[in-house]
């Protein structure tokens, strides 16, 4: 019986030790351009989908109007574009250097966002750990989160006004803009 337990114990200890030695060796991928770790994608996707399925609440996007799409476009230009891109612009160096690569939503042959709205909403609100995707629950209010979700769901078929709002984004595609632009987003919402 004691032999039995010893065998089990050694087996249990072996896997974490091997993993520890693997990391310790300096050959584990740390640079963002290195290839994925063994089973990395599989495990990470499992966890992500299990958690989202578990936590997501179905949301209904009520009244997606041109106005709400414009508001979504303004939030997108400020908080998302640096990584996820803008129509007619090359991906930024930040986006190019990340691992995993942030999906580019406005590339000519971009993958259409076909995730259900509740999953997009969950990701925007909570972020995705180990990917560089931030959670915006502390920075955007409920209405803004919904505007952004509605905007992303319709990214492939935006009205001209929303596209114009995207084009007004700063060159480097991120939010280092005067605070007034932030206020513009808020004011728009109240109107």
């Amino acid at each position: 019986m004691s032999k039995f337990l010893t065998g089990l114990l050694i087996g249990i200890i072996l896997v974490p030790s091997a993993f520890y030695l693997y990391l310790r060796s300096g050959d584990a991928p740390v640079a963002t351009w290195a290839p994925p770790m063994p089973l990395e994608r599989f495990l990470v996707r499992t966890a992500m989908h299990a958690t989202i399925d578990h936590e997501e609440t179905p949301i209904r996007l009520t009244a997606v109007s041109d106005d709400s799409l414009v508001a979504g476009a303004q939030i997108y230009s400020q908080d998302c574009a640096v990584c996820h891109g803008l129509p007619g612009r090359a991906p930024t160096p930040v986006a190019e250097g990340m691992y995993p690569r942030p999906p580019q939503f406005f590339r000519p042959n971009a993958k259409k966002i076909d995730d259900p709205a509740s999953e997009v909403y969950w990701k925007v609100k909570n972020g995705i750990r180990l990917t560089g995707m931030p959670g915006f629950r502390a920075s955007l209010n409920e209405a803004q989160l919904r505007e952004l979700t509605g905007f992303l769901e319709d990214a492939a078929s935006l009205p001209p006004a929303a596209i114009a709002a995207l084009k007004a984004a700063p060159e480097n595609g991120h939010g280092q803009r005067p605070p007034s632009s932030r206020h513009a987003v808020l004011k728009h919402k109240k109107a």
């Binding site: 087996g11 584990a28 691992y99």
Partner: protein
């Protein structure tokens, strides 16, 4: 003996199976505001240090000149500030929402200090490595495709002196309009930046 081997294998399989079920359960931390995975910090730091110790550049660059700091400041403002912050500015929504939290090199909303009597510090090799290669699973991108070797050193030099920057460099990092002509995006293809180095 046979029994012993079976149990041994069962032990080996037990840990990955438990880990898989943990991830599958939907209770693993996926949201960026959740608490860390068990042992996450420990393993992540271990791998990062081990890899870096293999790959650090041999020599440090010497102490920077003010011109190098200014060029570093410009690159920093363009590529790094969105996550790592600027003097006199609040943190961006992106920066607040990331996990792990990107270190803030300037205290949010505060200006920098400058003591002209202190010498500039040389860049740290570890900083250079991180800018060049990025850090996986953290949101830190690699800039080896976008910046030249020299530019990566300049950014590292700037970061090494973030607590002690001369006013001219502060003006660059804060994007003050009275600054002389700046290239819009200091990418490798930009001849202007290359010319600046000469």
């Amino acid at each position: 003996m046979k029994k012993y081997a079976i149990v041994f294998i069962a032990g080996i399989l037990l840990v990955p199976a438990a880990f898989y079920l943990y991830l599958r359960s939907g209770y693993a931390p996926v949201s960026t505001s959740a608490s860390p995975l068990p042992f996450e910090r420990f393993f992540a730091r271990l791998a990062m240090r081990a890899t870096m110790s293999h790959e650090l550049p041999k020599a440090d660059a010497g102490p920077p000149t003010e011109a190098q700091l200014a060029r570093g400041a410009h690159i920093y403002r363009e590529y790094c500030a969105v996550c790592h912050g600027l003097p006199n500015e609040p943190r961006t929504a992106i920066s607040k929402g990331l996990y792990p939290h990107p270190p803030q090199f300037f205290k949010p909303g505060e200006s920098t200090t400058y003591n002209p009597n202190l010498p500039y510090r040389p860049a740290k090799r570890k900083v250079y490595w991180k800018v060049k290669n990025g850090i996986r699973l953290s949101g830190m991108p690699s800039f080896k495709g976008a910046l030249t070797e020299e530019q990566i050193w300049e950014v590292s030099q700037f970061l090494g002196n973030a607590r002690n920057l001369p006013p001219k460099v502060v003006a660059v990092v804060e994007g003050k309009p009275e600054q002389p002509q700046q290239a819009k995006s200091p990418s490798k293809s930009h001849q202007q930046i290359a010319a600046d180095h000469k």
